[in-house]
Every structure is written in C-alpha cells, then in structure tokens.
Symmetry: T
Subunit: 164 residues, 12 copies
Amino acid sequence: MPTNSQVAFKRELLNTDNNQTTTATLQDNLVNLVDLALLLKQAHWNVVGTNFRSLHLQLDAIIETVRAGSDDIAERIATLGIAADGRSQTVARNSHLHEYPEGMLSVEETVQHVADELHATVTELRNAIQRLGELDPISEDLCIGICASLEKHLWMLQAQEKSN
Amino acid sequence: MPTNSQVAFKRELLNTDNNQTTTATLQDNLVNLVDLALLLKQAHWNVVGTNFRSLHLQLDAIIETVRAGSDDIAERIATLGIAADGRSQTVARNSHLHEYPEGMLSVEETVQHVADELHATVTELRNAIQRLGELDPISEDLCIGICASLEKHLWMLQAQEKSN
Amino acid sequence: MPTNSQVAFKRELLNTDNNQTTTATLQDNLVNLVDLALLLKQAHWNVVGTNFRSLHLQLDAIIETVRAGSDDIAERIATLGIAADGRSQTVARNSHLHEYPEGMLSVEETVQHVADELHATVTELRNAIQRLGELDPISEDLCIGICASLEKHLWMLQAQEKSN
Amino acid sequence: MPTNSQVAFKRELLNTDNNQTTTATLQDNLVNLVDLALLLKQAHWNVVGTNFRSLHLQLDAIIETVRAGSDDIAERIATLGIAADGRSQTVARNSHLHEYPEGMLSVEETVQHVADELHATVTELRNAIQRLGELDPISEDLCIGICASLEKHLWMLQAQEKSN
Amino acid sequence: MPTNSQVAFKRELLNTDNNQTTTATLQDNLVNLVDLALLLKQAHWNVVGTNFRSLHLQLDAIIETVRAGSDDIAERIATLGIAADGRSQTVARNSHLHEYPEGMLSVEETVQHVADELHATVTELRNAIQRLGELDPISEDLCIGICASLEKHLWMLQAQEKSN
Amino acid sequence: MPTNSQVAFKRELLNTDNNQTTTATLQDNLVNLVDLALLLKQAHWNVVGTNFRSLHLQLDAIIETVRAGSDDIAERIATLGIAADGRSQTVARNSHLHEYPEGMLSVEETVQHVADELHATVTELRNAIQRLGELDPISEDLCIGICASLEKHLWMLQAQEKSN
Amino acid sequence: MPTNSQVAFKRELLNTDNNQTTTATLQDNLVNLVDLALLLKQAHWNVVGTNFRSLHLQLDAIIETVRAGSDDIAERIATLGIAADGRSQTVARNSHLHEYPEGMLSVEETVQHVADELHATVTELRNAIQRLGELDPISEDLCIGICASLEKHLWMLQAQEKSN
Amino acid sequence: MPTNSQVAFKRELLNTDNNQTTTATLQDNLVNLVDLALLLKQAHWNVVGTNFRSLHLQLDAIIETVRAGSDDIAERIATLGIAADGRSQTVARNSHLHEYPEGMLSVEETVQHVADELHATVTELRNAIQRLGELDPISEDLCIGICASLEKHLWMLQAQEKSN
Amino acid sequence: MPTNSQVAFKRELLNTDNNQTTTATLQDNLVNLVDLALLLKQAHWNVVGTNFRSLHLQLDAIIETVRAGSDDIAERIATLGIAADGRSQTVARNSHLHEYPEGMLSVEETVQHVADELHATVTELRNAIQRLGELDPISEDLCIGICASLEKHLWMLQAQEKSN
Amino acid sequence: MPTNSQVAFKRELLNTDNNQTTTATLQDNLVNLVDLALLLKQAHWNVVGTNFRSLHLQLDAIIETVRAGSDDIAERIATLGIAADGRSQTVARNSHLHEYPEGMLSVEETVQHVADELHATVTELRNAIQRLGELDPISEDLCIGICASLEKHLWMLQAQEKSN
Amino acid sequence: MPTNSQVAFKRELLNTDNNQTTTATLQDNLVNLVDLALLLKQAHWNVVGTNFRSLHLQLDAIIETVRAGSDDIAERIATLGIAADGRSQTVARNSHLHEYPEGMLSVEETVQHVADELHATVTELRNAIQRLGELDPISEDLCIGICASLEKHLWMLQAQEKSN
Amino acid sequence: MPTNSQVAFKRELLNTDNNQTTTATLQDNLVNLVDLALLLKQAHWNVVGTNFRSLHLQLDAIIETVRAGSDDIAERIATLGIAADGRSQTVARNSHLHEYPEGMLSVEETVQHVADELHATVTELRNAIQRLGELDPISEDLCIGICASLEKHLWMLQAQEKSN
C-alpha cells in the first residue's frame, strides 16, 4: 500500500510537483467542507424561533450541496492518486472554521453563524481557484462549480439578515 | 436560550429523570453514528483492489442508512427538548470508535475495519435499547429500527470475509 | 349484521377480554385523531400573519400524518372484528380536544392552540401504549409509530414558540 | 382579528352584499362536504360482504374527490376574506346529511346509504350553482367542477344498485 | 401575411364583430399578465429580510401560474386568427400596472406592492369575464380559470399582511 | 333493464324534459367525436410527404384529446341515466362528418381534410353549448372544456395551411 | 398518390404476391380490432349491476390492449406500402363481429357478449397466424403477440362466468 | 464452510443459546411463509366465479407482503450467522399449512381456504413474537411488522365472507 | 367445478388433443420454474465469500425473471382451461432439478450449482419449444421468450466461472 | 435599504471595483436575455406555415434555456449584493435587440429574425466572458455555460436556413 | 482463454455445427448494425435544411433502436460461447453498408441515404431469419424483433420521400 | 452544400483562423471518443472471470459518459459551421487508440487494456484543453467537463489494479 502522500497509480495525470500542490490545496478545502456539513446539521437540529421551519429546511438544502462538494473533491484527490483524509480527528484538528456554539440558537444567531462560516469556506475556495488555474484546469473547474453554489446559498442567508 | 441540558419546551413528554437519562443515552449513540458516517466515507474514498467498485457502492448504501439514523436520533433528542451535539470537536472527542487508518486500504482490510466499527456501534445501540425500554418506548422503537438495518449491513460485510 | 361491540369474524386474533379492552382503547384515540385532523384543517384555512405561508404548508404536512394514523387505527379495530366509529356526531361528542376558536387567528395563536391539542393527543396515545403492551403487541407497535411522528411534529411547532 | 363575518382583507373582490351571500352559500356546502368525507370513511371501514374490496377501494376514490372539494371551497371562502368553519362541532350541528348507521353494513346497504347522501350533497350544490351565477362567476365555476365529479361518482354507485 | 387585426384563418369560430371585441379584450389582459410576470421576477430577485426565503419561493409559484395564464390567453387570441402582441415595447407602453420600485425591497414592501398589482390584474380580468360572457363562452371560461388561481394567490399574499 | 331512452336510476339529477334534451344533445356530439377519432387515426396511418413525421405525431396528440372528450360525454350521458351509443353501426349512420378519402394522402390534403372535420365538430359543440346553458350547467361546462381543446388543435392545424 | 392497393414505396420488403396476401390478411383483422374497441367502450359505458366497477375497469384494460393491437397492425400494413382502412364506414360494413345490443346490460350479459366477440376476434387472428407463417415472419410474430394478450383477457372474462 | 447450525461469523450479536432459539423460531415461520406464498399463487391462478378479478388482484397484493416477509426473516437468520432453509423439499416436509385442494376453486372456497391458512400463519407468528421478546428485540420487532400486515390482509378476506 | 384435467371454459382455443399435450408440456416446465425460484432464493440467502454482494444482487435479478416466467406459464395453462399446479408438495415431488445443498456455500460453489440447474431448466424448455411449434404458436412464443432471458442469465453466470 | 448600486451585504466576495464592473456587465446581458425570452414567445405564438408545429415546439425549448439563463444571471447579481433590474420599462429601454415585427410571420421569416437576435445575444455574452475572466471566475463560468447552450440552439436554427 | 471461434463455456446450448452457423450469421449482422448506428449519428450531426429539427430527432430515435439491437445480438453471440467482434477496424472492413458521404447533406439526401442503408440492413436480417429458423429459435425470434422495429422506422423515413 | 472544411452558416461565432484550429482539435478528439465507445462495448461483451458482472456493469457506465461526450463534441463542431466526421472508416483510419485484442479477455486484462486507452484519450483531451483556452472558451469548457468525467472513471478502473 502507498503512504498517504505517494501517488498510488501508475498512469499519471499531472507531473509530480503539480500533483502535490493540487492535492494539498484540495485536501485543505475538503476538511473545511466536511466540517461545514457537520456544523450545518448542528444548526439544523438546534435552531429555535418564529422562522424555525423555513430555516430548518433551507439548512438541509445547503447541506446537500456541501456534501456533494466534499465528495467530489475527495474523489478528485483519489483520482490524482492520493488518499483523501476526512476523518473526524483530522477534521476537528485541521478545519479553518470556528467551533459552533453549543445549545439551542435563535434564528438570527443561527443565520449569522452559518453565514460567517459559509463565507470563510468560500474565501478559501476562491484562493484555491486562483492557485489551481495554472496547475490543473479540471480541479479548478470543479472548485468553481462548488463555489458558485455556495455563494448562491450565502446570498439566500444574507438576504435574511437585512433589517425589515 | 436554555443551556445544553435544560428542557427547552414547556409541554413535557417524559418526566425530568427519564428525559435526562433518555437523551443522554441517545446523545452517546448520536456521536458514534456521526463518526461512523465519516469513517465510512473515508473507506469509500480510499479502498483499492479487485473488488473495489462493488465495495465502493456498498459503503455508500451503508452511509445512507447511518446518516438517516443519526438524523433521526438527533431530532428525537430535540423533540425531547434537549440540544443534540454532533459537532466535529464533540465527535472527535467522544466517539467510541477507533480511528480509521490513514492512506489507501485493500478491500480485505477495509471490510475488516468497517465491520469492526459497525459491530461496535451495534453493540452500544443494543445496550441503549435495553435501557430505553423502561424509559421511553418511542426512543426504544427508533433505536430498534436503526439497529435492525445496521445488523443487516453487518451481515453483508461479514459474508464477504468468509474464505472462498 | 353484528352489533357495534360484537366480534364480527369467526377467526379470532385475541381472546374476548383482551379484544374488548384493546378496541375500546383504540376507539378512544381514533376519535381524537379524527377531530385533530379537522382542527388542523380549520387552522390551515384561517391562519393570518407574517409567517402565514410557512405555517399553512406545515399544517398540511401534519394533517397527512394524522389522517394516515386515524386510518390505520380504524382499520386495526376492524381487523379485530369491531366496527370503528368516526362519524361527525361521535367525534363532536367524544373527542377529548378543546373546541378550536372561531374566526381567523394569528400565527402565534395558531401555533399555540395546535401545539396544545397535539400534546393532548400524544398524551392519550402514550397512555394507550402502556395499556396495550400487555394486550396486543401489534396494536402497541402501531400506536408507537403514530406517536413518534406526532411528537416530531410537536417539536417543530414548539420550536417556533421560542422567543427570538 | 376580524370576527367570523367581517371581510378580513383590504383589497375587495366583490361588493359587500355579494360577498356575504356568496360566502354563506359556500359555507353551507363546506359543512356538507366535510361531513360527507367522514361518512365515507365510516363506510370504508365498516362495509362487509362479497364485494367488500371493490367498494372499499371505490369509497377511497370518492373521499379523495370530496376532500379536494371541501379544501377548495374553504380556501375560496378565505380568499373572499371570511373565515371558513369546518370544525367537528359545527359539522355535527349544521350538516344536512343523515347520521350514518352504526356498526358494520352489508355492501348493498352501504351503497344505498352512500348514494343517498351523495345525492343530497349534489342537490344542494346544484342550488348553490344557480345562486352563485349572478354573484361570483369564479365561485360558480368552482362548484360546477366539484359537482361534476360528485355526479360521476354517483353514477358509479347507482350502477351497482341495478338488479342483475 | 395578414396584418395584426385581420383574421388569419379561413374557418371562422366567431362572427367578425364578436371576434374583434373578444381578441381586443384578451390582448389587454395579455399585456398585464406578461408585465406581472416580469414584475414578480423582479420582486423574487430583490426581496430582503427575515422572511426572505419563504416569499422568494412563493413568488416563483405565482410566476408559474401567471406565465401559464399569459400563454393560454395569447394562444387563444391566435386560435381566433389574430396575432397576439407580448413584445417588451408593447408591454412597457400598454400595461396597466405600476412600475415596480428599483433596488431591494423589504418583505413587507414586497408583499404590498405585489398584492396591489395582482389585485389590479384580477380586477381587469373580472371586467373581461363579464364582457366575454356574451361573446365567447370558451374565452370566458379560460379567463375564469386564470382569475380563480390569481385570486387564491392574492389571498395567500394578503394573509401575510395581517398584523400578528 | 331500461330501454335506451328511459332514465335508469332512481335518484334524478334533472327533470325529465331537461334530461331528455340534454342527453340527446350530448349523444349527437358523442357520435361525431367517436367518428373524428377514427378519422384521425386513418389520417395518422396514411399521411405521406416531407412533413410526415411532425403531422403523424400531431395527429396522435389530437386523438388523445378527442378520445378523452368522447369518454367524458358518454359517461355524462350514463350519469344522467341514459345509455350512450357509440357502436360502429351507429357512428357510421349518424355521424355528421364527411367520409375520409381512401388511400394515402399528402400532408397538405391531410391537414385540409382533418381541419375541415375538426371545424365541423367544433361548430356542433358550440351549438350544444348554447342549448345546454339553460338545461344543465355541468354538461355545458364539460362541452366548453372539450371545445376549448379542440379549437386550440384547430389553430395548430390551420397555422400550417398558411402559404409561406 | 398510389391507389389503395398499390405498394407506395420503392424499397420492397416482400415480393408482390406475398405482400398482397399479407396486407389483405392484416386488413381483415384490423377491421375486427377497431370494431372490438368500439364495442368494448360501449360495454364499458352501459354495464350495470353489483360487479359494475370491477368490470368497468377490466374493460378499459382490454381496450388499451386492443387499441395498441389495431395501431400496430395498421402501421404494419403501412410499412408494407399499403393504405390501411379503419374508417367508421369500412368498419361498420366489414367487421365480422356481431352488433352489440343497445341500452344498458347486466354484468352477466356484458361478460357473455364481450367474451363471445373476443373469442371471434381471436379465432380469426389464429387463422391469420397460420397463413402468415409462410408469407412474412414479422407480421406473424406481431399477430402472435396480439393474440397472446387477447387470449389472456379472454381467460379473465371466462373465469367470471363459472357459477360459484 | 460451517454446518447448518453453526454460527458462521466471528462477530456475535446474541449469546449462543439465545441465538439458537431465535433462529430456530424464525426458521419455523420462514417455512410457513414460503409455503403460504406458493399456496396464494395456486389460488391466484385457479380461482373462478363472479368476483374472480377482484380476488385475483387481491391475492397478488397478499403475495407481495408474504414474499417480503419471508425474505426479511431469511435474511435475519443469515444476519445471526445461521443458514436459512427455504428449499422446496424442506417446505413440503415442514410447513404447518394444509395442502391446498387441486383443480379450480370457486371464489367462496378460495376465500375460505386462504383465510384459514393465513390465520394459521398469523397464529404461529404471534407465538413467535411472545418467545422472541426476551431473546432478541430486533427479531421481535421484525415479526410484529410482518404480523400486522398479514392480519390486515386477513381482515380484508374475512370481510368478504360475511353474508350480504 | 371441473377436475384438474378437464377444460373449464366453453369457448375453446385448441382442439382437445392439442390442448392436453400443450398444457401437460407447460405444467412440466411450470414445476421446474417454481422450484428454480425457491432454489435461487436459497442461494441468495446463503452465499458467502469475497464476491458475495455482487452475486447476491445478481441472483435476485434472475429470480425476478424466473418468477415472471412461472406466472406467465401458469396463466397460459389457465387460459387454456386447465388448472395449473404449483403447490409445494407437487413441486417437491415432480421437479426435475437437484436438491440444493444445505448450509452456506462459497461463491464458486453457488455459481456452479445455480448454473447447472439453470442449464437443466433451459434444456427442458428447449424441448418444449420444439413440441409446441406444431401445437400452439402462442405457447411456443411464450416459452421462447422465457428461454431467451434464462439463457442470457446463464451466460452471465458461466462467464464468472472462467479462470482469470 | 441600499440604493440600486450599493453593495447590500456585509460579507464581500469581490473588491469594490471588480464588483461594480462585474455586476454592470451581468446587468447588460440580463436585459438582453429577458427581452429575448419575450421575443421568442412572440415568435412562438405568431409563426405560421408548413413547418409551424416543429418550430413552435423548438422555440419553447429555447425559451426554457433563456429563462434559466436570465434567472441565473439575476441571482448572481443579487449574490454580489446588487439589485438586478429586469422590469419591462428597463428592458424596453435598454435591450440591444431589435424590435420584433408585429403580426404573423412565416416560418422562414421567423427563423431568420430569431437567429439574428440570438446571434446578437451570444455576441454580447462572448464579450462579457472575456471581460469577466479577470474579474470573477464564478461569473465567467456562469456565462460560458449559458453561451454554450445558446450557441447550440443557434446551430439548430441556422441548420434550417440552408437551402435544400 | 479460448480463441475467437471456440465455444467458451462447458454447458452447451446448441450442437457444434448449429452453434457455428448461428453465431457466424449473427456476427455478420452485428457488424452491419454497429456501422448503421455510426452512420445514423453522422447523419444526425450533418443534416441541414427546412426540416432539420424533425429529422434530427427522428434519427436519434432510430439510433436508440439500432444500438439496442446490436447489443442484443452481441450478447446472444456471447451467450452461445463465442466472442462477438464489434471493433472499429472489423466494422470498417466487414460492414455491408456503403460509406456515408462526407460533409453536410440536405434533408432529402439524408433521408434517401439513410433509408437505403436501413433497407440493406433489413434485407440481410431477413435472410438471417430464414437461416436461423432451423438452427436456433431463440436467435430467430431475437432477429425478428429487431427487424420489425427497423422496418417500422423504414416506413417512417420512406413516407417522407413521397412527393407532396 | 459546403465542403467538409467550409463554414456552413453566415453568422460567425469565431474568426476564420480560430474556427479552423478549434474544429480540427475537436475533430481529433471526436474520433478517439467514438473509437473508445466501440472498444468499451467490445470489452463489455467479451470479459470473463470472477468479477465479470461488476466490470460488465461498470463498462456500460463509462460508455454512457463517452457517448455523451462524443455527441457534445460533434454538435459543437456543427455549431461552429463545420461537418463533424464520425464514420466507421474515418474512425478506423484516424483513431489514436490501439486495436483491442480479439476474443475473450480476463477481468485483469480487460481492466488494463481499457485503462490504457482511457488514459490515452484523456491525455489528448488535456492537450486540446490547453490549445482551446486561447481559441474558444466555450469549447475549452466543454472539453474540461468531458475530461473530468473520464478521469474519474479512470480512477475507478485503476483502483482495481492495486494488488490486494
């Protein structure tokens, strides 16, 4: 078995350097996305208040997007011959997101916390897109697609923060 | 906002003691199930070998069951007025499962590791079922349903370990 | 034709005493559930206020659960050879629920009234479950399933009552 | 909150007199339809005899039509700014249908009772259609659609009464 | 090619006078409905505030109804041998609706503006229904159907304006 | 068994005179519609020429509408307690449509023949609608619905006859 | 345009003699099937008696099979370059089926008449199958498929005639 | 390979004694259910009489339930590490059901024979449920679910035996 | 009631001799197919080894084909007026297949046993096809269709036996 | 409320300059796409001639693409914190497309006009893609996707202009 | 591994001589069908002219039939234990179809070329059907089914060649 | 008609030089993809060995991707006004893939051959992506999308080559 950082397959897609930088970049964002999905479920379960049901459903829609994104990125890493790492210990240690508050949260607090972490995820993805442009157009295009969906979800959260 | 261990709603379903023991029991298993789903995804991405594709698909079928189970348990905790906790930090700290090995694993190793952790999860669920019978028949029935599905998946994994 | 309290079929499932207590218990809850469905439709039509549409849709989801539950209980009574009774006159006379207020109600009032009656229905179902455990495990399991769904709906109503 | 007979919304669709007569006419038929649905369920559960299954299924098809009709009429009343009233007490008190016999009924008796009450419902709807023609073409058209479906169901019941 | 006001087909459905009045009436309402669909999209994109998502979805449901209505009316005009006119210039010039405010609007403002314009559209449709009754029952029935749906949407908007 | 012109059922919907005129009117149009469906199938099988496939598919779409219409009218006659008559001999004897030419026909000839017979069918339906308005609003509304669909199909045929 | 009996297309599938006998055989059965579909609809509309609904539905299932069969045969004739003839006048003149009785029929009479005509149709199809075996295996196989379905329907009718 | 009564897998779910009694209980009912499905098919093919079609369809609905039940029980036995045995020889030898009469049977005879055997199957399942409660709650819950469906089917058969 | 070997219906499809030989041939194969389905389920439950899951799923796909085939043959026998016999005792006594080994089997053993019995079934079906060609083309065509599917399944089993 | 050109949300995705140029570019193309959809509907209603139906359907397929495109662009503008403007007055004033001719148009004329305006829309989108490459890869990728679909539709229109 | 002409499996379906002739006949037609599918795609991409879209869609419908046919034939060859050969080099060398012209073709030219090659394919399939009748009824029936579909497609192409 | 290398349409999307280079690049990859689909079908039919069924299904999933890709590229070439060329002779002559071995192949050999040719196809696509970036962003994006899917399929093949 290859170690975690050796290319596992004999037919190469990228040269060694590009492959290492590309997969490291993807791995960083994988951890964020896995953590974001857990955080969104936490919010989904523990939100309370007048708008509870609408936000409860909206959060599940975002989770579907985030899970599809983390799966695509992990399988892209595997396609490039490297083992992806989305274990709970790795995620707890390496995620760039803030720990979500414990207990139940009001709708307003929930929207704010989730939007903040979604924005943080998007910001790192945008940095990744810039780096990947010269390394691997397939990975770049994959991240653009995920980022586009997350930014649209961010709009639909931010639009709720506007004072009426 | 109530703290993590206060009943949040004014209409009670169980008396205070039963409620506390029931939700604590459910919370323990919630953490295991969330961790199990992450572990299964890790296996799904990093398995290699002759039977790769068949196991790759099988793991996703198990993940679907596990995620539905963790969602049902978390929402049962919320129904009982307590905040569920499935955050990455909590899961990494409190899960009873072993850390999954890093890197790529062969089909045989993958089947063995996954079956071991699935068995551990099932064993704790069976203990919970015994305790819940006298506390809350709704929670007991919920855990029986989840356990039945997991044990069937366990069979379909164990059946692959038999030497041909 | 058999009278309302005679077992109609020649092949018995329970002995006479258990059958009588079981079907009487089920009949009590049937009346509550039929009334609850009418009450929820009344609420569905006459709610007004900022969150109107979200609650309007949520109420229809609860109605679907309640109607399926009353149908299952009535057919369980029939399976045990006794005529179920869900006629409007019987429901108006025997239901344990409070009369719903006439006219249009605000979202807050609607949530509170509906949650109260849902809680009353659940409380009687829980009592039935305790009694049925020794009489007929099939009827007990049926009531557990209905109760589980209603309690989840109760959570999703109560969560909206929390002050933001 | 407006009382039960005040127009709730500021943008009027009909003048006050037409609105009052229209919604009163619709309310009368709403009560009949809600009662008819309960009566059909009662028949659905308690019919016995050779043709049991065929009639059991047919009754559920009629119930679906009747429930859709009562929902449309109640929401039409609400659209016109008046609170609809379909509560069990109101239905038991104001319905024009006969009380359905208690206990189990043979297929022949069931067909006859159900056809009689369906005919009574249709007759009142036809009177309503005549009155509504000059008051509100939208409400008239709604009642014509419901009546057409009910009359077709009436045919499929009556056709079974013909001696073979 | 026929000009805009000549009947294009040799097989007539109405006499010349009825045809001219009928199609002119339909054309007036076509313009309103096309404009209403654009206005609703504008609202759909630019609403902000606590209830954003629920209203955002509701507006799309109304748009679907309005677009189906404008399509049916335009194809009815074509069926009667006259060219329908739904071009942007015609709509901007001839629509009876008010210009929607530019920029983002709060949920309350959005509901009010949309309900006002929906009410204006419905009022003209009701006038058309009266005129069409003697000219062409097919066109009258088409407009009744569209009007019924729009009035139901109007209810679901107005119900949100009620102070809680 | 009742003869062809006796009301078969004991619960009346219309008085005797209205019933006789209504069902006779419906029977006349039933024959036309059954014949039209056969004629359209004949055209569907025997059209040839450049636009063959597009017209072949279009004819099947019209047939679907015509068959649904004849079924609805026949079942309306039965609902009114009279036996409908759609037998081949009756149709061949009583239909008001022209005999379709034998052999294969060009696209142009097919469009012209089919449009002529569709127009003839529509013209008789329009006469029926006028008569039925005072006899039975349910039957009138049914014929309006069928006529609306047929006129739209007529447009889509006539639009193909325009010289380019 | 070719006349009714000339091969319309330049690319031949069968030699001239086989083509003429094959298409004449198919045309004979086409007429029977078109008439059978009309006869079944007549029965579907005018059956009365205890088992009405079950037979009413069963007849529609047979009609679907018969219509698909007549369509396939007519298009097979067209494929062989000959114009199929399913016009009402041709059907009334050339069908080998008996005229169906007018008025309403009891369930027993209906089953007997329909079974007789279905049997007559099947008998001619079986003769056709024997003749087609040496002329055109494609047409033979098509008729075997249609015949198999009709014979199964015949069973399900005949099984109802057995005295209980 | 393990013999028929050895636990095949290394990860145990129950202790040895409980496992042996549980799987033996399940195996007894497996044989009944496999035999019941064959018996129901036999009835499905060979019933004749006026109500043929309705019963023919009803029997297939019961078969679907019975097959799902036998599959679930067999796979539960396998999950517990024991080989299930549903071979024709085992079923013919060990089934507790009576041999179904040869030849065609009337609707009345069919209903009676099928209801008797369904009742016998249910009675043994109820005994199993009692025994399993202390051995394995997962297997108990599985049998309750199967028993509930079979008892409902039994009702729908018995309801047809009532004299009209 | 007719005995097992008398033609039950009055409208004949085949002459008496052909009917007897045809139905006896079909009955022989019916028994094989019913036994094969039981044998395949036995294999489905008790296979173990590396390729377990893939074979487990494949066996269910074959079972679906076999069950559809036995149903079609039994209903063909009934269509010809003879009672089909698929009871467990008849199957255990008359099937031409070997008894399947008890206990769990490896993937290799399972494939070999199943392929052997599938081949035996196909061989008898091929003999039946030859005999049926002169007796009843409908029954011949039915058996060809079943045989084609079974032979394709045989390929997909045999292909797995090839040494890699 | 922010004015039309102020960024509405506090979490920025682009710096101010890039944001202003990006949203202005998107707004220009939004207006074109909204106008194009209206223009295509106008063509859809008013085309006549031999190929009418085929083009009528094709235009609806293009409209679906164009509407999805305008919705995506408007919501992208909103995501970037700016109010999109698709009101009828704005579209009539700012669209770069030519006014579509009034009245009915032949198939040839329709294809030519629609292809010209589709080409104009595509040309501006291509310019936008070039500018957006350096400003915002998410917006660039969105426009590439819309442009790809429109160019494929353009092909399918142009292919019809080729002289035969 | 067996060579291309050796039977690969140990369980024989046909004797050696029949097997060799059968598979050789099927292989000849396999090559034609694979080539026909490529040729149809070429036509699908490069047709231009007034009827472009209708023919473009029609060609894809034919391709679906042809691909299903070639797949069935190749898998039939494999079922008989012989390796099928559908590689590009084999197809280019052995196909009996003419090379399709390069560049774009008008609708008329496309219809003519495609109909010619479809006719050539059908003619060889008809020869194969005659030969296979005595060798293998399963293969014969398979080819009849494919041929029937292709001949129907041929009709729908030829019908377009008729001068209007 | 234009020759193979002339732009067919009057409305240009790219300037002449870019158009020529873009379409030549796309044509090169079109030939590879068409050949790859044929090669994958060959592998799909002729693979044998323990893992046969899993690989058999996997190959069909890849074929679906490859065919969609070749269709999109050919239609992109057509969109740019050039005739695509995917004829069997062109593919056999110009494809860059190796000829697939004749006869049956083991699972291991099949995986290796298919992975090699998939890798070769991907490598040329990656070169095309680099060239197209400056010529036509629409074509570049199309190739990135196809390449991403193929590379993922390559992973799922390579993962099977890892020794267990």
